[in-house]
Chain length 275, copies 3
Amino acid sequence: MCVSPLLVPQQRNYSTPPKIRVEFDQSTGVAVMHMQSPPVNSLSLDFLTELCISVEKLEMDKSCRGLIITSAQPKVFSAGLDITEMYGKSPEHCGAFWRSVQEMWLKLYGSNMVTVAAINGSSPAGGCLMAMTCDYRIMADNPRYNIGLNETQLGIVAPFWFMDTMKNTVGQRTTEIALQLGLLYKPADALKIGLVDQLEPEDQVIAAATQTISRWLAIPDHARQITKSMMRKKTIDKLTSNRESDIQYFVNFITKDSIQKSLGGYMEMLKKRRA
Amino acid sequence: MCVSPLLVPQQRNYSTPPKIRVEFDQSTGVAVMHMQSPPVNSLSLDFLTELCISVEKLEMDKSCRGLIITSAQPKVFSAGLDITEMYGKSPEHCGAFWRSVQEMWLKLYGSNMVTVAAINGSSPAGGCLMAMTCDYRIMADNPRYNIGLNETQLGIVAPFWFMDTMKNTVGQRTTEIALQLGLLYKPADALKIGLVDQLEPEDQVIAAATQTISRWLAIPDHARQITKSMMRKKTIDKLTSNRESDIQYFVNFITKDSIQKSLGGYMEMLKKRRA
Amino acid sequence: MCVSPLLVPQQRNYSTPPKIRVEFDQSTGVAVMHMQSPPVNSLSLDFLTELCISVEKLEMDKSCRGLIITSAQPKVFSAGLDITEMYGKSPEHCGAFWRSVQEMWLKLYGSNMVTVAAINGSSPAGGCLMAMTCDYRIMADNPRYNIGLNETQLGIVAPFWFMDTMKNTVGQRTTEIALQLGLLYKPADALKIGLVDQLEPEDQVIAAATQTISRWLAIPDHARQITKSMMRKKTIDKLTSNRESDIQYFVNFITKDSIQKSLGGYMEMLKKRRA
């Protein structure tokens, strides 16, 4: 049996500050989850472990009915999967990492809470995936930000459940183009194709999310939850029943020499860009 | 074996006037079905039984090729399922009622006739379902009317085949939002999301439906019918092969104390609003 | 066992000029396939056989990464399936013909190359199918041209894989209307529903296709190909695993007296229109 890293929180390095900060307003039943992992909220194994534990705690708290996910970092919602978790790492590490990505998706896409993404910065790849798991997406109306599943631009492939989540959001044809080209959309274009639901001035994104969530919370929880679950069940079941083979597939793919070389080149490019 | 109420028309109370009036124009091959059950064409067991018998008669009449469904009541197309059929009733009654809702959907969604909904009033819940079974929807352009599956607002859940019908009409993402929030759309918004296909001034809805249907009837019946059946087969098969379990699920759900309480509260609210 | 006509190129009548002309630019890795079968690039058995052989050759040439399909005939991209291959022909001939239509679709819809349709003329029925197999569609902005699956207008039915291809392109609801009515869309309307992706002045269609394809070729082949294959696999598998029964169904349908009569009437009408 494989022990999930998510069940072993003591593995977390407690010398670092928390990567997730949760504010829960008991009076409204809404929690705001601030992602605060400098510089760009990369989805590392540690980050995802913390995030999943936080979501699970809120999920088990009956008084928490809504969740807003947002970033405490400037200019970025989340930069997506942390490439250092897949570059030059053992197959075991890559597998544990991938399991935590799956876990994040399963927890958020299947959440009983109303979930709203307050996308106050760029949100490529895994960041876009996280936003797409929510019930509603509000993005800062800043043309320097973008959002999308840009995996192919890095020479890698969005797995089937990323694909399914996008199809459920923007439909088959738009997904086919977006994924093949690894497109990143500016907010106005993301709104046009339905990748986000609403644009707001940057400083009003969280306020708008709070307003939206109160509208969703006016609906009886039980009826809304069953409806959400029925709409998403097929997509969730597909990963749940293929979880191990999906991990195996990812590990085989990502540890290939050619893919490692692509990732290495991409990291070099990022380093140079920063310098 | 369970005898369908639809096969026992003698159970109908013949002291009440007919709830359905059909005008069939032999020269055009088009029937117009006027729903005339005051005050709001609620889909009661009697109403649905009459409607299904009418549709079946037309279906078997080879000279009838098109069907327009409209309302003879002011301001409303149909208010949806008759709550009195599910409130304080025996499981047997609830089951017979649900079977008649299924039968209505199966007959209309799988009809060989060209079907056009002339939506000359509001059309919530079951009224919206009925409209969505048609090949084409023309709605009166009156901003006081609305249409949608608003079940969650009543604390209940649109069953999977309501959901599938809506997904086939407006797509996965719009359905996800519409059903979770139980949204009712004004005509202009319904047109925008594709829930209706055309708006017309209220007094021209039926004329427009007649014009539309003549265009559809210009297509050879055989080819059009096979095409329609191929497009809808998967959705129809899903209910056909899960009919009994769907009834069981509905009866178990609707007879729960908490749901009965919700329905009771809703009926009280309606009474007060009328008074 | 049934020998595919595609494997027997020597059956081709070498006294006729080639129906397909391929220009391959080694420097860009892009091939342009000109359909040049007068008068209207009808998809005959010979035409499809040539086309499939050409595509297969390009597919096996690693240096060829992109394919533009266009017409060398004035005013028409392709008029669709050659009715003379299904009218008054033996079941064996109809079956061999249908297999070649399937083969064209399987080769193009599953191509590893980037495929762009440069639709420089009308593209009904099978012509529209061919265009829909491509990754991207650019149509000449000439309101006298049209595109669509108009099978029902001829009294025949678009088979399930035509239907699936259209659903993948424009969604369920638009497909339901388009196929039942056999709609042919002008370029502006085709753009609006997403049946084509871009309009260009007639003399710039190929230049635009070249520009588009270079953008797609900027994506690493491997990642793009896997993505494309994942997006289309389910649709392709459905035909692959039902190929023989689909042929049988087609042959039974098309050889019916009533259908043969329809086709005969249609051919008479075409003849008169030309005269």
